[in-house]
Symmetry: C2
Subunit: 164 residues, 2 copies
Amino acid sequence: MGFAVKTDDDAKPGDADIDFGTLHELTGYWLRRAQLNTYRNVRNFFFDEFEMTPGLFGVLEIVFRNPGLTQTAVANAMGNDRSAMVAIIDKLEKRGLIERRPSPVDRRSKALYMTTQGEAFQARVRSRALQHNQQFFDLLTVEEHQQFVDMLKRVAERADESRC
Amino acid sequence: MGFAVKTDDDAKPGDADIDFGTLHELTGYWLRRAQLNTYRNVRNFFFDEFEMTPGLFGVLEIVFRNPGLTQTAVANAMGNDRSAMVAIIDKLEKRGLIERRPSPVDRRSKALYMTTQGEAFQARVRSRALQHNQQFFDLLTVEEHQQFVDMLKRVAERADESRC
DNA sequence: ATTTAATTGTTGTGCATATCAACAGTAATG
DNA sequence: CATTACTGTTGATATGCACAACAATTAAAT
């Protein structure tokens, strides 16, 4: 299944000599391509080692940095629907990493807190994530990397503005 | 240490005072964020105007530039499983944009060709896509845009290499 | 030539994610 | 009070991706 990359002497004609036409001129195409591949890589990496996904990691990190947050608050921060939170929190709670406590001020909502076990776990994952991130993007110089992130932020904001 | 993010002038109080912690230091996070928002924008745009999705557009463009290609060849080019092709080709064929012809050399495979109607349609979409792309990324200077695409390509390749 | 292996399109399944509508319980507002 | 808004939750639906299986067909092995 290995796609050896640049060798034109590959007997497979169907791979290299394909004309992508306008696709390769569209920034959105490359953005998607880069993200999809990166995401798959990160996901496989962290699932193998921690049985974690980027989504779970994000929730864990946010709850860790903002103890007592409500579920919808986390959902809004993550940019997805609050109904999606339920399954995520369920998983994390079932693994003993997170805790739902009744909010002292609002009997509807539930305040989210990290367990001590969850903090220890997240510390390990976080360290590994930073390490993997730096290692993965070392194909960019430090300047490039900085510019890259800066542009990504601007693009993300832009796309967020023109939201219907 | 002293790297706490400074006070953004809050427009929304309940939204902005959340600490994202390590998340905001991960390039992959921003990459995903930018891509998701961009994709949603592009998708809404082209779905409203043409009832097209980026995926359909890609297949259409590839078939247009490489007439007679087989379904799995297109799937490999697009980077997804050949089973995903079926529904896509079905849609495009049902709309009269594309055609499945029996391959003259291999009775298993089906050669894909564009209809004249499909070519006319795709010409309109293609033009609009290029226009929208340029307009959307005009928040980057020409130099930045070029660098951006260049880096995305490198990242995409990198992620592709370390594929299991 | 006959068996074996590989590939094609296709279908189905499972999993993760996303959006939307509804609901009962609760809070805020008039 | 009555009404309106918000909470977590469930369910329906759609999507995309990965994988397994299948009959038909081709390629390779012996």
